[in-house]
């Protein structure tokens, strides 16, 4: 096979060939940045564990299940999230809800007995949140998902019902 070569002209003017000026320009730029860091302490880095980056409201992080004023979860165990989840990481076991235990709230027939989300499989697509008719399951802005064991990464109902302010 004949290889075709393309000759790109690399002709520089005399001024450009004398790289010293370009080098000095570059040094001037870095000096400006150095002084900005040295005198003004300006940096784009965030001191992570002390300061945290504020993500947008639409950020999809750790899941939570919202609850009403009686600490009763809004979820009615309709299985919509479990069905829509592309990663198949939601496992719900439903049971009947005792109507007496929720006198003031809206009457719901079912409630989840257990509600597990395997965060290791989850792809944080947010489809569970979109599909939920009761706005029960939501994704918070918490991005610190690291755990010590794999079991801890499977969120159960207690964990999901933790207190989350706004979107976390």
């Amino acid at each position: 096979m004949v290889t075709k070569t393309l000759n790109v002209s690399r002709k520089h003017e005399i001024k450009e060939k004398f790289y010293l000026i370009a080098v000095l320009q570059g040094m001037w730029i870095t000096l400006k940045y150095f002084c900005r860091g040295f005198f003004l302490w300006k940096s784009y880095t965030i001191n992570y564990p002390e300061e945290k980056r504020n993500y947008s409201q639409r950020f999809r992080g750790m899941h939570f299940i919202s609850y009403d004023e009686n600490k009763i979860e809004n979820c009615t165990a309709c299985y919509l999230c479990q069905t829509v989840c592309p990663a198949e990481c939601i496992t719900i076991i439903a049971e009947e809800r005792d109507p007496l235990k929720n006198p003031s709230g809206v009457w719901k027939e079912k409630k989840p007995k257990s509600f597990d989300i395997d965060a290791l499989r989850c792809c944080f697509c947010g489809m569970c949140e979109e599909s939920c008719p009761k706005d029960a399951i939501k994704l918070s802005r918490n991005y610190e998902l690291a755990t010590r064991t794999r079991e801890q990464a499977i969120y159960n109902l207690d964990h999901l019902k933790r207190e989350v302010k706004g979107r976390g």
């Binding site: 080098v23 870095t30 150095f34 860091g37």
Partner: protein
Amino acid sequence: MDLINIVATLIKIILLFAISLTAVAFCTWLERRGAAWIQGRRGPCRVGPFGLLQPVADGIKFFFKESFVPEKSNKFFYLAAPILTLTIPFLAMVSIPFAENLYILNHEIPMRIARFDSGILLVIAFTGLEVYPVMIGGWASNNKFSVLGSLRAASQMIAYEISMGLALLSMILVYGTFDMNEMVRFQEKWMWGCFINPIAALIFWFSIFAETNRLPCDIPEGESEIVAGYHLEYGAMKFALFFMSEYVAMIMASALIATLFFGGYSLLPGFSLVEKGIVALFSIRSEIVNHNLFIIFQLLSIFLKIAFFMFVFIWVRWTLPRFRFDQLMDLGWKILFPLALANVLLMGIVSYFFIYR
């Protein structure tokens, strides 16, 4: 050589060691911090105030790491290279004067470790040796990347040694002496060497970058091409010695440049009058005490200059990208070498007709 001279020499050796190793520690901090500032980052800021204790933490880490020797390496040379690499820049620093002679108890103590009338030749000899530990280390560790790195180092250093030597030669023509004290006195009286001979200053400056393996010429350890080059197989304190030697070599080179081209231990031409005036303010009668006080100014000014050039080393490193190998060789053999030769001729003519008339 009497007792006082021996003691003074020992003290000088210890001081040089202590000061330059502390400076090395500080420089590694400044290198990382300066890089961070230039790139809009923070740099090491956790250990101690402003992260200043980071070098100490690094040192502790280096000491406690496992010190291993690769099985197929040449053990003797493998272990000899890190020792040599730190020794040679220190040896080169031996004859660089840091001030005029000091007078203590009627003894004249030169402010450099060894008194050589031809000090500059000693410096050239020892900077020439700097390539050997690199070659030995790369070859003895029996790793193809290391060998590639040391080959690159050898060819690069030979290429730039020549233009560096020629630049030095032109300066020797200008000053008419091998004695570095005399060179400083010359610059004090006339003007800085870099104004008399700017081309040599440029050539020398660039060759120094190649000699010390600093960016933009750190081809022997080009991380993206040959992992870490000649010190790839070195770990723990042995690597730290290579690392420190780079900075010691930089300090040595800074001192050399300051002495040759930027007035050495006299701050500015004619500034010694001001310094002597300040000393005279103390109104001390004794001539000798005045002279010794004056030496403090000289020490301070060369310290200032070395610090500035160290900063330039770091500054350049975080500005310029690495050269390609063929570009570096082109620059060394095709541009700097002829230029340096022509410059020697030019300086010969200039010094014959203008300086030594």
